[in-house]
């Protein structure tokens, strides 16, 4: 597997200049994610409105290009998704990253391109947890947990 498939332009760009990299004081849901093996850490903030729609998403943290890019793209993807859609997105991405067959999921072209780029990790098993850290943190935040780690995930 060529490493250039993993480090595509889009990933490098999000890794270098992550979007939504800020504190969200108005956050209704916040969770901390931690990968104890490599030390990557992030905090995810979400604003959900009364109808359960994600109106804003942001994160902060330190990590490798893959984990930062994944968090960055995820926050972009989440906006205007309902809680239910976000949960489905988690399942979809998890399957994609671990190389399982992915459940059908309707995505627009930009989102498809983002997730496609991130799914390069499926050929680098040891990096899968880098890509999924943000997503596990999302899951934790939606379920009301304040911390999560990639242990056994």
């Amino acid at each position: 597997m060529d490493v250039r498939e993993l480090y595509q332009e889009l990933i490098l760009d999000h890794g270098k200049r992550p979007r939504n990299f800020r504190v969200l004081n108005a956050a209704t849901h916040t969770a901390h994610g931690h990968n104890p093996l490599c030390g990557d850490k992030l905090v995810l903030h979400l604003v959900l409105d009364d109808g359960g729609k994600i109106t804003d998403a942001a994160f902060q943290g330190a990590g490798c290009a893959i984990s930062v890019a994944s968090a960055s793209m995820m926050t972009e993807l989440l906006k205007n998704k309902t809680r239910d859609e976000a949960q489905k997105l988690f399942t979809y991405f998890h399957a994609l990253a671990t190389g399982e067959t992915t459940p059908a999921f309707p995505l627009n072209d930009t989102d498809t391109a983002r997730l496609q780029a991130l799914s390069g990790v499926r050929n680098f098993p040891v990096r899968v947890k880098c890509a999924t850290l943000a997503w596990h943190t999302l899951k934790a935040a939606l379920e009301g947990a304040t911390t999560t780690s990639t242990e056994g995930a």
Partner: protein, 416 residues
Amino acid sequence: MASPVRHIAAPLNTLAIRRDFPVLQQDIGACPLVYFDNAASSQRPTAVLKAMDDFYQHDYANIHRGVHTLSQRATDAFEAARARVARFLGAQRAEEIIITKNATEAFNLLANSLGGLLQQGDEVLVSELEHHANLVPWQMAAQRYGLTLQKIPITETGTIDPDDVRRRLTSRTKIVAVAHVSNVMGTVVPIREISQLAHAAGAWMVVDGAQAAPRMAVNVAQLGADFYVVTGHKLYGPSGIGALYGRHDLLQKMPPWQGGGNMISEVFFDHSTWREPPFRFEAGTPPIAEAIGFAAALDYLSALSLDAVAAHEDMLLQKAEAMLRTMSSVRVLGAPPHRAGILSLVMDDIHAHDLGTILDQHGIAVRAGHHCAQPLMQRMGVPATLRVSFGLYNTPDEIDVLENALHDAKKIFGVA
């Protein structure tokens, strides 16, 4: 008396099996080796040695998900070995298996970590037939945490009576620690009955499976074991490795015991936080190649079928017991309703050590001594016994060699 259980399994082809064990193809002095010391440690098939060599020569690296290829391969192989142990013991999930250096370390982990969850004055019930590994750590934990050790005596026949356990269970009993198979008498202890009683009383069941796992199919759920301990070197695997099965919800409650790399989540100079089980209990670099060898040993055993191994050892046991019954001046310890693969004997006027030396002259490897079960020796009123323990490669003919050697010993010592 040997097992009343009937096993339906093709008999073992010991001729073929013995080819897998080069160590058995040697003479001791002028006599072919007869290896009857399997309860101390069994031998390993070439498949196990080859698995380790191959691993060392192709995939070895430290584990813990290092980013490079060898480390990934090694980590995958190690975690696959953990899953193999889980399957072997009938555990629900791989995370219920903690890799240790031997059975003893597993008991020390339990005594310290589980012991730390108890209250001062809580009781630990331990049987009288335990190996020191399942007694001394509890003694030390009792001291450290203010617990009380209570003895489960053995019956006249040398087993444990569940009714007796029931009477000893109190509201303060938190742990019941019992061997599945006695390493001295081969007694198969009725674990299922005891664990039901323990659970009804709100106690956790700790089972020492060091001698059972090599001799019979084990399923921790069926046994009702909350914790089950095995050791690699008795399971035809390498030295330097053992495993502890622990119920997932209990492991999650338990604090770590040893500190160091791999078991931590975050470390600051003055404090640390821990990872989830099983990693929380695996400090430092584990026995990596040993785990690969251990998994290969379990593959080997399972391919033969544990039921076939059990039937084979029953057959040997029955022949040995019949032979010993006809021999004057010999006494076999205990007469439990169900015995597996191990027996101990004493002879009038010949000390076990002298007997051991004479048997060695006949090429027979047996253990003489207290077998790390001094309280049991005290109970039986013998200073030492001669222990004969079978493995899957032993043959009925070897029991004839034993008979011969015992007669020789009697002749040398002038015993009738």
